[in-house]
Symmetry: C2
């Protein structure tokens, strides 16, 4: 069966034959003027429709006061209304005292947390990070490009750490943080990681919480973006805040999450969860930074999402829409690429991405070839600090936004490109 | 007529008599357990009711796309939807290219603008402000306490400049900025200033735009918070961005405004207006800081407020609610204090405050005495950098939130306290 031809061990003539056949299929797409965008993890319109009735949930006749009696229409309150804290305390399994509700963007809360650390230090640090000669962050990679962009903007040196099947390479991390006190942080997407779809194991969480760090103001930036975003059987993630407390490092972690991919990206609500000491330290600064977050939008969200049980039902509706898209991608990768020994990919239980690894040195060419026929993928290299994938092999596939039909075409194109670039590479090395 | 007794020239016996009569009136309030808060410039519930139907304006059946075709429910866009830019371009009289729409808080946009300057410098500055040995801001005072708090948080040294009847003391400002290149900015509330209610004259705006600054990266932080918030006949304010362009200093000013006191404080939309060069510089950073502002709330606002003409009608409704409150305060001050030579106050044509000046050295005692009978005023000193009013005389009255009836009582109490503290002071100096 052709699909199971191992290209690596195939002879030159056969490879050339394959190339021509595949090239012909690729060329057919050239004249179709396709515009298919799989570059970002965006919900599709059908997913957004699931939340559109949230717009009807808060109208002028409604009671617009929060549980604490505050008029949500007016000034007052800098860290969220009680009912929003309760909802997120259920989602993140932390106490309501360990929560600050923010604006519409958890990325913005992350940036703010780091920029405040640069300008004022963190709780217990005694020094502004920005005044130190160097600040470094560990960046498990492939990872989320927007995390890396924040470090780059703030002149924070990034150290690549490999992602393994149970999370980042803990042996390397433990060694690095124990030796270098300029390493102040680590980026983590611990559940259904971006882009690998990996959920950190219990041991990984335990070791992150317990490890000895030379910097006493080391912080874990725990971007739990996909915590309720299951596709199939939910992965279980150990609670990092509890683990840090148990390890005697209660202030080590900042957890972030949002409703961006639950309700509306850009019009959701974001959250920071951390120790009460960390939050008290931050709250003083936030009360000067802003007049407080949008309480009406919090009320709207809480009245729509209600509680964790109702939220789970809501997330199943998301899964019902996007799981067929993940299946389409996985089936297509399987039928076009499996057995050929030129690519590998993950099968995530949740999240927004499928991570595809080509042969070393091929990713950029694949992404460029796909772009030439109108299929836009996330820029090759984007999943690594400074946009530099050392093996030039990782491609992030974001299946949620296009339709299943569009995806079928897009992944077919992608698979053709992977094969063409791989064969070229294999032939050039013979 | 007793009201017109000049306390300063009154003899001791008469003053003592006055004191006892007034003290008796004050003591009557002691047992009333009043709780009246005039500390912050908050709209009252009736004002919020003016905008509550905005909650009905965007429902699930509505077209949720912006003019540029973008789905307001999804990711995308970091500086605002076109129709929101159009609305604010009418309000601020700048081009839509000179506008970035932000989140719910213009204060937050100001903080962000300064913290970005600390971390990255400003357009054309070449250096991060935070790396310089010292940064100073000019602070026309009395002024807005939250502006000063931002400087204090960021370790920016504040230099007090007197507010005069046409705006800040320009002679002093011109001298200071021409000599000291560590002076990087000035805070301005140019229309119906907080707390004096002063609108900068054409000459003041002209001189701010034209003055020579030793720092080539000097910036004016133009907090045009009350630009459409007239009480009676609108004051006219010269357009600072146009003035800066005409002066050959196109990048000198950042203008800020919001709908906080038009629709809902905390759930409004904020704006930054500046030169295209400034905005291009900032936009690159914003695109890393956040996934973008809440576009649904922008759409909601634009569909509710529509355009500048409709907005003016809306603001007249605000004025109809709060003007009687300002009148009550002014009438009461007039009837209780005028002619006594112990206090002076402004009569603003718009904005949110009435500024009361006592005899030197009396403000703190007055505010404390009022607090003892349950009337909370803005902390004395709050209208000056570091909370230190050098003459200890300025008291900010925020008349909008309490009812007219509550105000009547509160201002009566305030006037009694002013008289008691003043007589004590006069007697102690005889």
């Amino acid at each position: 069966m052709e699909n199971h031809t191992d290209y690596i061990s195939e002879d030159v003539n056969e490879l050339n034959k394959h190339y021509l056949i595949i090239k012909e299929r690729y060329d057919e797409y050239k004249n179709q003027n396709m515009i298919l965008d799989m570059s970002r993890g965006k919900p599709c319109p059908e997913q957004l429709d699931l939340s559109t009735e949230m717009l009807d949930i808060l109208i002028s006749d409604d009671h617009l006061k929060a549980k604490d009696g505050s008029d949500c229409r007016n000034y007052g309150g800098i860290d969220g209304i009680p009912e929003a804290k309760e909802l997120f305390s259920q989602i993140l399994e932390v106490s309501t005292n360990e929560i600050i509700i923010g604006g519409n963007s958890s990325l913005n809360m992350m940036y703010d947390t780091i920029s405040r650390a640069m300008l004022h230090g963190v709780y217990g640090s005694g020094s502004q990070w920005g005044k130190l000669p160097a600040i470094k962050f560990l960046c498990p990679s492939p990872g989320y490009d927007r995390h890396f962009a924040i470090c780059e903007l703030l002149n924070i040196e990034m150290i690549v750490v490999d992602m393994l099947q149970n999370g980042p390479d803990m042996d390397t991390i433990e060694k690095l943080v124990s030796e270098d006190d300029s390493i102040k942080g680590i980026w983590c997407v611990p559940k259904y990681s971006n882009p690998d779809g990996i959920t950190y194991s219990e041991e990984t969480v335990y070791r992150l919480a317990h490890m000895n760090t030379k910097a006493r103001d080391f912080r874990i930036f725990w971007d739990d973006a996909y915590t309720v975003h299951h596709l199939t059987k939910p992965d279980q993630l150990k609670n990092i805040l509890a683990a840090c407390k148990a390890a005697g490092n209660p202030d080590r972690v900042y957890m972030f999450s949002s409703t961006s991919k639950i309700t509306f990206p850009g019009s959701g609500i974001a959250v920071l969860a951390s120790s009460e000491e960390n939050l008290n330290f931050i709250r003083k600064q936030i009360s000067i930074q802003t007049i407080g977050p949008d309480k009406i939008n919090q009320l709207r969200h809480v009245r729509f999402l209600k509680n964790i049980d109702n939220l789970k039902v809501h997330m199943e509706k998301h899964a019902a829409i996007i799981e067929p898209k993940f299946d389409m991608v996985l089936n297509k990768l399987e039928s076009e690429l499996s057995g050929k020994n030129i690519a590998s990919w993950n099968k995530p239980n949740g999240g927004y991405f499928i991570s595809l690894n080509t042969l070393d040195g091929c990713a950029k060419d694949v992404v460029n070839m796909a772009a030439e026929v109108g299929v836009t993928l996330t820029k090759a290299g984007a999943t690594f600090p400074y946009g530099k994938d050392p093996r030039n092999r990782n491609i992030r596939i974001a299946p949620t936004f296009p339709s299943v039909k569009e995806l079928e075409t897009a992944i077919e194109v992608l698979c053709l490109c992977v094969q063409l670039v791989s064969i070229k590479k294999i032939l050039s090395e013979r």
